[in-house]
């Protein structure tokens, strides 16, 4: 039995959220999304290209019957800009949910917790279903929850860095205390990073670069799907505790007489 991931009005069987950025072609993206098994994909809000040669947009490639589109506020460095972009995304998609990102600076792309909190409060007041991207700080995670976030998305490591989960201990503390779903977002480099997030108890994982910039994105998407399922199953199975000393798997009784030493 697989229980669904639920928050706000949304329900998903797949626990992977996959970004749509950085693919070399839209066709490759479509194939990778399908291989990942995801049901929710992220997009960004940007000015329309007025050069006249823009034809198709990303929406022409995403089947909205198959995927729920989650707009983000990527590229915003102030709460004010993020709120503005969230409102625009709601107008474009007629959807209330948004992945809130308020970043601190261009080089680290680390979340600005103060700006994120302030934007989260405002958007929750306006009726948005806010998924708040943030750092792996357990206190900030609780503050975002109190500010009305429907899900908190702690970063495993910086966006696009492929460093995996740098502080599993913090993620565990966040998970232990959370009253909303925790979705590990950012930093995934390979399948074991996804498996680890789920083994820790994360409700979901959001990734983009790890698939999009792999040499074979479709195959990597498949690996991520398998890792998500493996990690989630391992978590639900209840792993054995770590012990300092060995514990034999074969019976110790009835062993043949040992050679004299």
């Amino acid at each position: 039995m697989t229980e669904k991931l639920k928050f706000g009005p949304y329900e998903f069987t797949s626990r992977l959220f996959v970004g749509t950025g950085k693919y070399t072609t839209n066709e490759l993206m479509v194939e990778a999304l399908a291989a990942s098994g995801t049901e929710a994909v992220t997009v960004a809000v940007r000015r329309v290209d007025l050069s006249g040669k823009s034809g198709k947009t990303i929406l022409d490639f995403i089947d909205r019957r198959k995927y729920t589109i989650l707009p983000n506020t990527a590229g915003c460095f102030t709460a004010e800009d993020a709120v503005r972009v969230a409102r625009l995304s709601r107008e474009v998609l007629s959807t209330d949910w948004v992945k809130l990102e308020v970043l601190g600076d261009q080089q680290t792309l680390l979340p600005d917790p103060v700006g994120t909190l302030s934007a989260c409060e405002q958007l929750a007041k306006e009726g948005f279903c806010v998924l708040a991207y943030t750092s792996d700080d357990p206190i900030v995670a609780k503050r975002l929850e109190a500010a009305g976030a429907k899900a908190v998305m702690p970063a495993g490591s910086p966006i696009g860095s492929g460093q995996g989960i740098l502080n599993p201990t913090n993620i565990r503390i966040i998970l232990e205390r959370a009253a909303v779903p925790i979705i590990v977002d950012a930093g995934v480099g390979t399948a074991s990073d996804v498996a680890l997030a789920f083994e820790l108890g994360a409700e979901g994982v959001l990734l983009n670069t790890g698939i999009a910039l792999a040499k074979d994105p479709v195959r990597m998407a498949r690996a991520m799907k398998a890792a998500a399922e493996a990690g989630r199953d391992a978590f639900l199975s209840g792993r054995i505790p770590r012990k300092l000393y060995a514990s034999a798997s074969s019976p110790l009784e009835g062993v043949i007489a040992p050679a004299k030493q």
């Binding site: 970004g19 809000v45 329309v48 947009t57 990303i58 929406l59 474009v92």
Partner: protein, 69 residues
């Protein structure tokens, strides 16, 4: 014919006097595009595109969705 001058995404655009948001989108070849429009920082909901008339000096933002994470 009198005209109205606005900016769209920081680019100047000349439209016929009395032009609406829908006329502006049409002039840019975006009549059927999936976009959101802000006029002087206020969103103009899609339902009002055909009725909202633009004024001289209006600053418009027209956004859509692109790939992102």
């Amino acid at each position: 014919m009198p005209a109205v001058f606005v900016t769209v995404n920081d680019r100047p655009l000349e439209l016929a006097d009395g032009a609406t948001v829908a006329d502006m989108l049409g002039a840019l070849g975006l009549a059927k595009a999936v976009v959101a429009v802000e006029r002087n920082r206020e969103i103009v909901p899609r339902a009002r595109h055909a009725s909202e008339r633009l004024a001289e000096g209006d600053r418009l933002e027209v956004v859509t969705l692109v790939g992102g994470g």
